[in-house]
């Protein structure tokens, strides 16, 4: 995903600096297409010592800005007796994986979206998760162990999850949207008052789902059909927007937008969110441990600590994303209109976006074609 997480909180200036630099993502790769979490060459994992002396271990973590509590390193250091914890920031998944793969700095723990965890693992860069060192894994919903890019949480631990749908102004629409076609072929009262996302995979999602295809398709004919649909939709759109669609809804400039659930300002009056009947995606942001880490025991201890209801609940309360942690969600007060109430079972209906390797270029091209069309 994207996640310049501050967008919903800070003023427009910051959001747009994000827009300039950040945006989004998903894409590329050079090895085989959508295979099953193929190589886990690290199966012969290092033997980890449950009683290792953490006070001799130092952790470097990379995470989106504002995604974990500010006092996390200090608290975790004290609580876990780890020698030191350094938090580094990345604005996008792309920047994170560039940092993780081009070296220079040694990272122990990284926060990346599911499909990036999958890609990193396919390259043999991730340490398998040693479940015995993370007893708090039992706090997760059972559904959170069945994520298609990593069934059984072999190399990644989910931190937040959500889906994509239509965010709309209930006072301005003449009928409640229920299909992706409401965005793609907007009725006359919604013409030029609809936005779709600009990041390639999410740009394609409504068309792929409306046509009944997988969001991970790499078949040329299916992508061509989706292109036709999107080309026809473009003249009726207000614009393509990944970052300010919430503001456009609030001002009434737009009345229906494609949106990530956590970014749809449903706590505002008259703003609602719906997952279209054709289905949608399930995005997950995860925590992974680098195979190159020399502090794997401390890394596991930190992830275990983050999975405690207090810390994990912080994420749900403060960044408004659902967390896949039952113990944490049970404690969180869900404000009226908040989307935190979407049930894990409903989320699991969504299809996880996978890294398509080489085939991701097809989506880059598709989105350039759509946007360059007059």
């Amino acid at each position: 995903m994207f996640r310049t997480r501050f967008t919903s909180r800070l003023p427009v200036t910051v959001a747009v600096t994000g827009l300039a630099l950040a945006a989004s993502a998903c894409g590329g790769g050079s090895s085989g297409t959508g295979t099953d979490s193929a190589a886990a060459p690290s199966a012969s994992a290092a033997q980890l010592n449950a009683n290792a002396d953490l006070s001799k271990q130092k952790l470097t973590v990379t995470v989106w800005p504002g995604y974990t509590p500010e006092e996390l390193p200090a608290k975790a250091k004290e609580e876990l007796k780890i020698q030191d914890i350094q938090i580094k920031l990345h604005d996008t998944n792309e920047i994170a994986i560039t940092k993780l793969t081009t070296g220079g700095e040694d990272f122990d723990v990284a926060f990346v979206s599911g499909q990036y965890a999958q890609a990193l693992n396919e390259q043999g860069l991730l340490e398998p998760i040693h479940a015995e060192l993370i007893p708090n894994l039992s706090n997760l919903y059972p559904e959170a162990t069945q994520l298609s890019y990593d069934k059984g949480n072999k190399y990644s631990v989910p931190y937040t999850w959500g889906t994509t749908g239509i965010c709309y102004r209930s006072d301005l629409v003449k009928a409640v949207p229920k299909s992706w076609n409401d965005l793609l072929k907007p009725p006359s009262w919604a013409q030029k008052k609809v936005t779709m996302m600009t990041t390639e995979r999410w740009l394609a999602l409504p068309a792929l789902k409306a046509l009944g295809y997988s969001v991970n398709t790499d078949k040329d004919d299916e992508i061509a059909k989706a292109k036709e649909l999107l080309m026809a939709a473009k003249p009726q759109l207000l614009g393509f927007d990944d970052t300010t669609f919430g503001d456009k809804l609030k001002s009434g400039e737009a009345i229906m937008v494609e949106a990530w659930d956590g970014w749809c300002p449903t706590t505002e009056k008259n703003i609602e969110f719906v997952v279209p009947q054709e289905g949608s995606d399930l995005w997950v942001d995860t925590m992974v441990i680098m195979k190159s880490s020399k502090n794997k025991e401390a890394a596991h201890a930190l992830i275990n600590y983050i999975l405690s209801p207090e810390i994990h609940g912080w994420a749900a309360e403060n960044i408004n994303y659902k967390v896949p942690n039952k113990a944490a969600m049970d404690k969180v007060k869900v404000a009226e209109g908040s989307l935190l109430g979407i049930k894990p079972a409903e989320l699991l209906q969504g299809e996880s976006i996978r890294d398509l390797g080489e085939a991701s270029q097809k989506y880059t091209r598709l989105s350039t074609e759509i946007k360059a069309a007059q």
């Binding site: 300039a20 880059t364 350039t368 946007k371």
Partner: protein
């Protein structure tokens, strides 16, 4: 040449050294800056163009010319031509608006000149992005213009809006060099022309305009270059519905993780700009 008298031959060398030292001291920061922040990145960009993309960005060191053949794809050519068109329209409009403005400012009394110049530069005191957003407030469906006029005009998120945004952002870069050129003109030349019977228009056409051509060229370049490579304005005011080269490049590097192709696009952009610079310096020398 022979040295007269018995002055030791080292003296002039020493003298030159003494003059060179401060020159070096003053030049070093600038040279270092250019070397580290311009030449090295440029060399990297050049280098990347012939390799394959890495899965996580970066490059795989296998030689290929594929990145260049991709550039010939009509999809990318369209985007480049579109960007050229948008930048050219912006530049012409900036010239049409900027020239009279600069001319007028140059003919103001001294005190008003200063005030007018400050007013021209004033928008630069506000963040670029915020100024772009101001246009959304003005032009959006429920925005100020529509509510004042009581209309429901669609003014935003079009190619025209992109031109408006670029024009607004870069107009001062046209006005300032033009002002400098017009201000420098000797008023006696114009008087002489009038004395010899030329009309005001003929004086402008035969005297003022030819003498300010270097200013016109500089201003046009100052507007064209940042307009051509801009990616923020098309995103914000174009509603993401039009793509310029800048958007393509940013997308290849940050989203598609295709650094080699991004580098090829960057090279294409630089090539266009170098050609323009050459035309500008050639024309300025002849003017």
């Amino acid at each position: 040449m022979k040295t007269q008298s018995g002055a030791p031959p080292t003296t002039p060398v020493n003298g030159r050294r003494r003059a060179l030292l401060p020159a070096f001291a003053f030049l070093t920061p600038g040279l270092l800056y250019l070397l580290v922040l311009l030449l090295v990145p440029l060399a990297l960009v050049l280098g990347y163009t012939v390799f394959r993309r890495g899965r996580f960005g970066g490059v795989v060191y296998e030689f290929t010319t594929e990145n260049f053949t991709r550039l010939a794809d009509s999809l990318y050519l369209t985007v480049v031509l579109d960007s050229l068109k948008i930048a050219a329209i912006t530049t012409v409009l900036a010239l049409l608006i900027g020239y009279p403005t600069a001319y007028l400012i140059a003919s103001l009394p001294k005190k008003w000149k200063t005030i007018a110049l400050v007013a021209i530069v004033l928008p630069f005191w506000t963040n670029f992005i915020i100024r772009a957003y101001a246009w959304i407030m003005l032009l959006s469906g429920p925005g100020i213009v529509n509510s004042l006029l009581g209309t429901e005009l669609e003014l935003l998120y079009k190619q025209g809006t992109v031109v408006v945004g670029l024009l607004y952002s870069y107009l001062p870069l046209m006005v300032l060099p033009l002002y400098a050129a017009i201000e420098r003109l000797d008023p006696q030349l114009r008087e002489a022309s009038a004395n010899l019977g030329a009309s005001a228009f003929t004086t402008f056409r035969k005297v003022t305009l030819p003498l300010t051509v270097p200013g016109v060229l500089t201003g046009s370049l100052f507007v064209f270059v940042p307009s051509f490579g801009n990616f923020v304005i098309p995103e914000i005011l174009g509603g993401g519905k039009s793509v310029m080269v800048g958007n393509l490049i940013r997308n290849e590097f940050l989203v598609a993780r295709d650094w080699p192709f991004g580098a090829v696009l960057t090279l294409a952009l630089i090539a266009v700009l170098v050609v323009l610079l050459m035309i500008q310096s050639w024309a300025a020398r002849r003017a």
